[in-house]
Symmetry: C2
């Protein structure tokens, strides 16, 4: 009972099924792969594989198809690493060169990943983590409107237009900005709400512990701007996802016969996808794969997710979603490569 040959058979089945999209039989297998044995032998192997729950036959007279467990074994033990092609590396490199601001990088990377894998790509924005306030700017847009810009140490830029209650001068704005920045400069984003809450009481109330509620806002302008900053921090810290390649689903319609609708709906729920990504692979930078029913989320039980961490401490996640019947080696290689490049870009 040549154990390794059986694995070869499984690999061949997975590869052929992914390539040709139809159940693969013993004869086709010996024709297409140099297995060195007859189809009868393959049949015996297949019987064993089926008994082990790694493949199934849709009908009696059809070939075999990998089960979730079969894919799992394939991914874990058999698949070769498929290095990216020259052209693909070049595409990634080009992306790196054209990188502009964070949003831009995110969007371009997502599109690239979708293109490389022909799947739907998801990238979680870098989490707030231990990001700090790098810079704060208040720009007068008009007499009664100001733009508040917050820049975080992880390169995130958040902006918001703030309507002002009454006209203010440029000097007043500059002054307000100085005071705000003085209070939060270089502090972790997580502390900002607290810090500014204190500021919104009387300026010199360094002693009070939790008394500021009683004081009316000393300065409506400052109060308003501080509120905007707090809101911006919330926004910067909020988990967001950028997605690309959803149109690839239209191509994949044949793979999900009918089960494509739940997938669509899942993708539209950003919260769901966020949790999904977060739950995947707490292990560092490795690539994690969830196959079919392994997904903890029912509507994705016919889909697979490949994800990897990226960025500092691999704390953020990116990945792709596609049909169970996908090209795992290529997709995994792409996810890993993109994660690495993205980490490098962000590290600057």
């Amino acid at each position: 009972m040549s154990d390794s040959r059986r694995l070869n058979v499984l690999r061949a089945i997975v590869e052929d099924y992914v390539q040709f999209r139809e159940p693969v039989g013993s004869r086709a297998l010996v024709d297409r792969h140099r297995l060195g044995v007859s189809s009868a032998t393959i049949r015996n192997d297949m019987a064993v594989l089926e008994e082990e729950g790694l493949i199934v036959a849709p009908h009696t007279s059809a070939g075999r198809v990998p089960t979730d467990a079969g894919y799992r074994l394939f991914v874990d033990r058999i698949s070769d690493v498929k290095p990216l092609s020259q052209a693909e590396r070049r595409a990634i490199q080009t992306l790196l060169d054209e990188a502009n601001d964070l949003d831009d990088v995110m969007e371009k990377t997502a599109r690239l990943l979708a293109q490389l894998t022909h799947q739907v790509a998801l990238i979680q924005y870098p989490t707030i983590g231990d990001a700090r306030v790098r810079h704060l700017d208040v720009v007068a847009l008009a007499e009664d409107r100001a733009l508040v810009v917050l820049i975080t140490s992880n390169g995130h830029v958040e902006q918001r237009v703030v309507p002002l209650a009454s006209p203010v001068t440029v000097e007043e704005l500059a002054d307000a900005r100085t005071r705000l920045l003085g209070a939060i400069d270089a502090r972790p984003l997580t502390e900002v709400p607290t810090l500014l809450g204190r500021l919104r009481g009387p300026i010199d109330a360094e002693t009070g512990t939790d008394a500021p509620v009683e004081h009316p806002p000393a300065d409506p302008l400052l109060d308003r701007l501080a509120a905007a900053v707090v809101s911006l921090v919330g926004f910067a810290g909020q988990d967001r996802i950028v997605m690309a390649g959803t149109a690839n689903l239209a191509r994949a319609t044949r793979d999900f016969p009918l089960t494509i609708l739940p997938v669509l709906e899942a993708l539209e729920e950003q919260v769901v996808m966020l949790r999904l990504l977060s739950e995947m692979g707490q292990d560092e930078a490795g690539v994690t794969v969830r196959i079919g029913h392994e997904n903890p989320y029912e509507p994705l039980s016919e889909a697979s997710v490949i994800a990897s961490g990226y960025g500092p401490a691999a704390a953020s996640r990116l990945g792709v979603v596609g049909p169970t019947r996908m090209d795992y080696p290529t997709s995994m290689a792409a996810v890993r490569a993109v994660a690495r490049y993205l980490s490098r870009i962000l590290a600057g």
Copy 2:
């Protein structure tokens, strides 16, 4: 020959076909609509409509289906305006309230439009037009990296991280920023490249006409930052498109039997879609519709595009793309409403 009844028949055919997705016959028509005449009369009308090229029968024994011309007539003369539902208005309003920066508004609006119409939504970024430089900021991120932020009068914020050749002090950066801003503040974006090109020569060369090429850059730092600003301006002025709802195509697979792939490919070519949008409807704020073969772009000959101008002078465009068999009244109402709301938001 009751002319108006024939139009009613056409309308009924379009509506039923859109709703039930199958050719509609004379009997079904009299059953579902109170036309007050017999099916034989309807048949006569249908014969005329077919002769006029407004409907066709896929086969002899099937009902009729609208042609592009039929849809066209329907859109131009028959369709009722379908006001948005309460819930839909509320959704738009919510969007308005949550509006943050421009990118955010764009993305949210696109998603909203896609959701309202169940089609693919496209929104062209506000064009550069007569936008001017509102603000320029240079922030030291590290000893040898600076962040350049450009804010335009139409609310666009562009940022870029600039690696510096050698370490600089905060003061040097501030100085450079002052000189740059001094040169371009409040000037139209279109002039910025020229203005900064001049600056990159010797500072006091106010006399020279086109001699600056001979001088080596007086200040490498200034030169580098100026280059970044010029690039940012190019980026801000560049036509871009934000897209949403491409996943809706997966649902629409039944409408495009096989012709969906060209549509997908077209959507992936932003340039194509940009030109498409630009070419549509030079007439002011009205909603323009291109039906099937009316599209000047071959791959979209089985698709329809609904677009509208928005923003100042309705100079920018937004719209949706979907199968010819789409709910025109609803989609048109949604496009128009979203265009109006977006204009209002941008006008602040």
